[in-house]
């Protein structure tokens, strides 16, 4: 497979992009949209562990993202007693997410396929309602804000512009100068770390157990792989990284947003990233995030900007307003991609061969 060169090329492009952007007109700046690609890439990698590796359809990954975001917020915001700062809080989202995954998974992971899928979907709805209704803790629909941005060691100018040295730079304050670039590269580093974690997991004993469960539960059971415990590990790992993505997301927006921001549509988007990219393929997930979020927050946005500059959509009728075509384009893109690339854009190795006909696999 040509996946290693692809990954290296993507990494190189991600590293070089901010520099290249300097030579483009200001309105071409897409650093923020790219950050959102990074966050969804981590979410996609998380979902891929449970759905791609272990073959468990999870329709509620957004719930764990919400748990991570709110945990991060409660641990850092000044309305709460903790205020432990960015780094401790973002690291704590991992065990908190894993715990939530464990609590949901323990009683339900024995369920088969689509029954488990609706349990995860239902969990997603329950988490949203709980966050919304327990407003004495979560502030309900208010959202918790502001939230801290990362603090990183970097060159700090001295008091009066003289001297200076290595110091801690709060990226929230650094909206000019190197700030945006530092936070861009930091987010990229998070993606790389997540990628390495999942790549090593994939190649480990656990990863092989997941994939063996996915392809044949009966056979793997008879070979001594405990199905529920193995699935639990996948489920909890996914939950942990989804929570981490949620914490990053909240930090990036400096707000949790409202609970409805973590609804089923986010879970669906994450699922589309995994499937469109190629289920079980780490490179695929990264491509999936790039395509899905890129199309949505960069290509469509630029296209509509351009259409608007040509005077389209000024009359206010639903048919000529470019925005009212978004669902259609998004849906069509999904249908076409699945039609021509049913195994995803970058299929996982060993998944290329087709299952026998009839849909029952």
């Amino acid at each position: 497979m040509r996946r290693a060169p692809l990954l290296i090329a993507m990494l190189a492009a991600a590293l070089a992009w901010p520099i290249a952007e300097q030579f483009l007109p200001g309105s071409w700046s897409v650093l923020d949209a790219v950050k959102s690609i990074f966050i969804f890439a981590i979410l996609g990698l998380a979902l891929n562990a449970v759905t791609g590796f272990a073959g468990i359809l999870n329709l509620g990954i957004a719930a764990f993202m919400a748990i991570g975001a709110y945990a991060f917020a409660i641990l850092t915001n000044d309305l709460y007693p903790f205020q432990i700062g960015f780094w401790p809080a973002i690291l704590l989202t991992l065990p908190i997410g894993a715990l939530a995954g464990f609590l949901l998974g323990a009683p339900t992971l024995g369920l088969r396929g689509d029954y488990l899928a609706i349990v995860t979907l239902g969990f997603g709805e329950i988490v949203q309602d709980v966050l919304k209704n327990l407003d004495s803790i979560t502030l309900g629909t208010q959202g918790i804000n502001p939230l801290p941005a990362p603090v990183v060691p970097w060159w700090k100018p001295g008091e009066d512009g003289q001297g200076g040295g290595l110091g801690l730079v709060d990226l929230a304050e650094e909206t000019q100068g190197a700030g945006p670039l530092l936070s861009y590269y930091l987010f990229l580093a998070f993606v790389v770390v997540a990628w390495l974690v999942f790549r090593n997991l994939e190649r480990s004993r656990v990863g092989r157990a997941w994939m063996s469960l996915r392809s044949d539960e009966l056979a793997s059971r008879s070979m001594g792989i405990p199905p529920v415990r193995t699935k639990m590990l996948a489920f909890a790992t996914a939950a942990a990284f989804a929570a981490f993505a949620g914490g990053l997301w909240a930090s990036w927006l400096s707000s949790t947003g409202e609970p409805a921001n973590y609804d089923f549509q986010i879970s669906i988007l994450a699922l589309c990233i995994v499937i469109v990219g190629g289920m079980g393929s780490i490179a695929g997930v990264l491509v999936g995030a790039l395509v899905m979020i890129g199309v949505n927050s960069i290509v469509l946005v630029k296209l509509f900007e351009w259409l608007q500059s040509k005077g389209l959509g000024a009359s206010g009728s639903v048919f000529v307003s470019p925005n009212s075509w978004k669902y259609l384009l998004f849906g069509l893109a999904l249908v076409l991609m699945m039609r021509f690339k049913p195994d995803g854009l970058v299929p996982a190795s060993g998944r290329g061969e087709r299952k026998p006909s009839g849909g029952r696999s």
Binding site: S29, I266, Y327
Partner: protein, 399 residues
């Protein structure tokens, strides 16, 4: 904007790359709006954008020799079908970085404003909302204890709004309800920032003035119907129903189910339902004579002077009467254009100062000013009833 002379290596290398932004065309300024244009709020935001476009067209797309560009940004995404925090953040960042942008009209949802405000505040860019009513965005003591200063990291006020806030509207709504003869009210809300916020104020005020609240229920805005809730309301014998929420969050269905479920108590709703779509969704027969709507401002047909002109021009341009929201969009754009005209230098700082200095503005909503928090001093509220399938102005509230 603040200049940054104190940057040292290695930041310097990076920032040199940053400041080599391309040459911008002279004599152009840009206004952007960021409103949810995909999904259910599209109906209201279309009328707002119509209002904004009209205001720009009225000055011929030029102010003081500067060409005014306008971009209608969408802060919703198709997957969400509603405002999307990531998109709002991107819009705000994009506007902040674009040196041409001198004004940001938005947002529609107060939740979205919470995300955009600090970003634009750091960039020193004016933000004028045609729709946010959550008091905590501007008023100390009305929201969480860290509000509104968390939205002003630079310490300066850059956020303004042309609509009166929920803490005013909820109060006049409760007063009016009592005046209409309510003794026991059942309060519903859509569990969103706007709807719950205004319902909370209604409830608090009602208790102060001796209007009993039998129960408060948060509805599921996506439910097919509210028959079970209506049965519950009927069983409590409430003689008045207040719904804090919007047309998209199923206000029409609530009205229908109340009537078909045999509840005769009047229904009162806030300005999130003050649009023809509410009457159309509910069916006029279910509203006539027993539905009251409060609104922060005067309805179009009560406006005199500039407001009346606005109404006629709007009808000529778009073929329909303006909805309540259209005026807000129009007014936000007008006050911004006016400030651009008054500003000496056409940069963000001068324009921000000019907007903040807006006093006795002769607008379509009457004559008003911005106070030190960025709120409009226009506190004229009106109450309307639905009669024969139309909103009919009843009285001025809260004076």
């Amino acid at each position: 904007m603040r200049s940054a002379p104190s940057i040292r290596r290695p930041t310097c290398v990076l920032s040199m790359l940053l400041v080599t932004s391309p040459v911008v065309a002279q004599n152009q300024l840009k206004i952007v709006s960021s409103l949810p244009r995909t999904g259910s709020a599209n109906a209201q935001t279309t009328t707002m954008v119509n209002g904004i476009r009209m205001a720009i067209d009225e000055v011929g797309g030029k102010v003081d020799g500067f060409e005014i560009l306008y971009e209608d940004m969408d802060d919703a995404s198709p997957q969400r079908g509603n405002w999307d925090p990531a998109v709002e953040g991107q819009n705000a960042n994009k506007a902040a970085k674009d040196p041409l942008v001198v004004g940001y009209i938005g947002t529609f949802n107060s939740g979205a404003a919470k995300i955009a405000m600090p970003i634009l505040n750091r960039a020193g860019c004016v933000m004028i909302s045609p729709a946010n009513t959550y008091p905590g965005l501007t008023k100390p003591g009305f929201g969480e204890k860290n509000e509104p200063k968390v939205y002003r990291p630079s310490g300066k006020v850059n956020y303004f709004r042309v609509v009166p806030t929920d803490d005013l509207q909820g109060v006049v709504a409760a007063d009016w309800a009592k005046e209409l003869g309510a003794t026991k009210a059942f309060v519903l809300h859509d569990r969103e920032l706007y709807g719950k916020g205004i319902a909370d104020v209604f409830e608090k005020r009602a208790k102060e003035i001796g209007l009993a609240i039998v129960e408060v229920e948060g509805i599921d805005p996506k439910a097919a119907n509210y028959r079970s809730l209506v049965t519950k309301i009927k069983a409590t014998g409430a003689d008045f129903v207040y719904f804090g929420g919007t047309t998209q969050n199923n206000a029409g269905q609530i009205a229908k189910d109340l009537r078909s479920g045999g509840v005769v108590a009047p229904l009162m709703v806030p300005d999130g339902c003050f649009e023809d779509a509410f009457i159309e969704a509910a069916g006029a027969a279910n509203l006539n004579g027993k539905t009251y709507v409060t609104f922060g401002g005067l309805p179009a047909d009560q406006l005199t002077g500039k407001g009346q002109v606005f109404r006629e021009n709007y009808r000529a341009k778009y073929g329909t009467d303006p909805e309540a929201y259209a005026v807000y969009g129009y007014e936000a754009a007008r006050v911004l254009l006016d400030a651009i005209d008054r500003a000496e230098a056409k940069d963000r700082a001068s324009i921000l100062a000019a907007v903040a200095a807006t006093r006795d503005f002769q607008g379509a909503l009457g004559t008003w000013s911005f106070d030190e928090n960025g709120d409009t001093t226009n506190r004229t509220m009106s109450g309307q009833a639905v009669i024969d399938g139309k909103f009919v102005f009843q009285k001025v509230l809260g004076r």
